[in-house]
């Protein structure tokens, strides 16, 4: 079913990703007591299509349109000086902004927590949400900051030597979450951060 990358094994299939997103959509609505006042922001790159899928499910559950956008955190990263400057990804704040809203940040993998720290700082400059929640498809542990997710697709205990790859139809042409022992090709922003440490081993 999934393209076989050498040394990687599939931990979430397409169906399992869909079920996880469906459950997360219900959790978000339950926690928020409805879908009013929600703004869903994906963190590029793979957080953005995930945010769109999550939002589509929330909208169909509650039958109201929930604004969805993208929040690039590159300019707010704490590791900018450790590597050459990178290209920015699009930031797209929905009309109506985030002031007084409940913002749900969406990312594919939660790892060190540094991307989310950067996202919270970035959000400061956009406006003042009433509350910020975090939804991730995979929580692989190894936090370096006091940050946790409110909604998790799958808790995935990993070793620091492993890498987690999230493949999404919109970007990769297929849906799958893979875990492998190789240290290259980290798709998740958090994984990028830790990659420096891993590769330095």
């Amino acid at each position: 079913m999934s393209r076989h990358l050498s040394g990687f094994r599939t931990v979430l299939s397409e169906d399992e990703i869909n079920r996880a997103l469906a459950r997360m959509a219900h959790e978000v609505v339950e926690r928020n007591k409805g879908a009013s006042g929600l703004v869903v922001l994906g963190i590029p790159s793979r957080g953005v299509p995930l945010a769109q899928r999550l939002t589509a499910r929330i909208s169909s559950v509650e039958d109201i349109a929930v604004p969805v956008g993208a929040l690039d955190v590159t300019m707010y990263r704490d590791d900018l000086r450790l590597r050459p400057a990178r290209a920015l990804e699009p930031t797209d704040i929905p009309d109506g902004g985030v002031d007084g809203k409940t913002v749900v940040l969406v990312d594919d993998v939660l790892y060190s927590g540094r991307t989310i720290r950067a996202a919270l700082t970035a959000l400061d400059d956009v406006g003042r949400p009433r509350a910020v929640r975090l939804a991730v498809l995979v929580d692989r542990g190894h936090r370096e900051l006091p940050i946790r997710a409110d909604h998790v697709g799958k808790n995935l205990p990993t070793s620091l030597r492993e890498s987690v790859r999230v493949l999404l139809n919109e970007v990769d042409g297929q849906d799958a979450v893979l875990v492998g022992a190789t240290a290259d090709a980290h798709p998740a922003p958090e994984a990028h951060l830790a990659a420096g440490e891993e590769e330095a081993r």
Binding site: Y76, L80, R83, A85, L88, T91, D92, D125
Partner: protein, 317 residues
């Protein structure tokens, strides 16, 4: 990414596109925001080293650096050690001793920025903000950015550049960058205001403005510096204006959606008439806004990272 920005010719199509795409994001990150400031260059120092007066370019660079939270020092020739006869080298050594990460330099001598970047006097990244009659790459980038916002992809678009090509560094940088981006450029100027060797530039050259206008997607009018008039480059201001000025009659011969650019400051009634300058298809004021975004993009790409490594970035230790 590039370490120094000295010439528009140094930029590949890929690099130029990266700068313009980054500028697009800079616009999106600051337009309409409550906080028009990004923390990206916190703790970095940018020196504006201006041996020539230029309020417009200097303030644009200053604002761009401040929007990225860099510390900015303005070093202008007037009222500084430069007016007391200090050489470029000693000024550079002073700046190096102060720990400048980026130096934005404007100088009346062509090649001053190159000298500063390659001399080994300083390890800072050097941005050319205009050197003599040579180049002004960020002006070309902001013009390309403005063109792209209105015309989309610049490949096979026709851009007409009119005016003093001989003394203007804007024309050279624009021709080089627009050629890289795939646009067709036509230079229009009186023979006396064209530099030697212009036939080798990647563009067409003509003396006839009226013939060039009907096919243009954009017209860029260059400033005619008044001090040139005494040097007999053309008989009179009036004659120049009649032959090479963009007035209402010529404006009407442009295609319906063509836009008008001018790097400023304008001489209304000379190279551009007031009604054309104030027309809604003139994007001159927008160019100023875009200048800040483009300079933010360049500063970000040059200063935010760890340096290219090969040239020995400041984080090498």
């Amino acid at each position: 990414m590039i370490r120094h920005l000295l010439s528009a010719a140094d930029l590949s199509h890929e690099e130029a596109t990266l700068i313009l795409d980054t500028a697009d994001e800079m616009a999106r990150l600051t337009e309409g925001r409550a906080v028009k400031k990004l923390p990206t260059l916190r703790g970095r120092t940018v020196v504006n080293l201006f041996f020539e007066d230029s309020t417009r370019t200097r303030t644009s660079f200053e604002l761009a650096a401040k929007r990225l939270s860099a510390d900015v020092i303005n070093f202008s020739a007037k009222g500084s050690s430069v007016s007391k006869g200090e050489s470029l080298k000693d000024t550079a050594l002073t700046l190096a001793a102060m720990g400048a990460d980026g130096v934005v330099v404007r100088h009346s001598a062509s090649g001053a920025a190159y000298r500063l970047a390659t001399s080994g006097w300083i390890s800072a990244n050097v941005l050319n903000a205009g050197d003599g009659t040579h180049e002004h790459p960020t002006q070309a980038l902001l013009d390309a950015f403005t063109l792209r916002r209105h015309l989309g992809d610049l490949r096979d678009r026709d851009v007409v550049i009119v005016g003093d090509v001989l003394h203007g560094r804007v024309a050279r940088s624009n021709v080089l960058l627009l050629a890289t981006l795939g646009a067709r450029v036509t230079l229009v100027a009186p023979p006396t205001l064209l530099p030697l060797g212009v036939e080798n530039w990647p563009c067409e050259v003509t003396y006839d403005l009226d013939a060039a206008l009907p096919g243009a997607d954009a017209v860029m009018m260059l400033r005619v510096q008044r001090e040139r008039m005494n040097a007999a480059f053309f008989p009179s201001a009036r004659e120049y204006s009649r032959r090479y000025g963009l007035d209402a009659r010529r404006f009407s011969s442009l295609p319906e959606d063509a836009i008008v650019l001018h790097p400023g400051p304008m001489n209304r009634g000379m190279e551009i008439s007031a009604d054309v300058a104030d027309n809604e298809r003139s994007v001159i004021v927008e160019q100023v806004t875009n200048g800040v975004y483009v300079r933010m993009a360049v500063l970000y790409l040059m200063l935010a990272g760890s340096g290219t490594g090969s040239a020995g970035g400041e984080d090498a230790a």
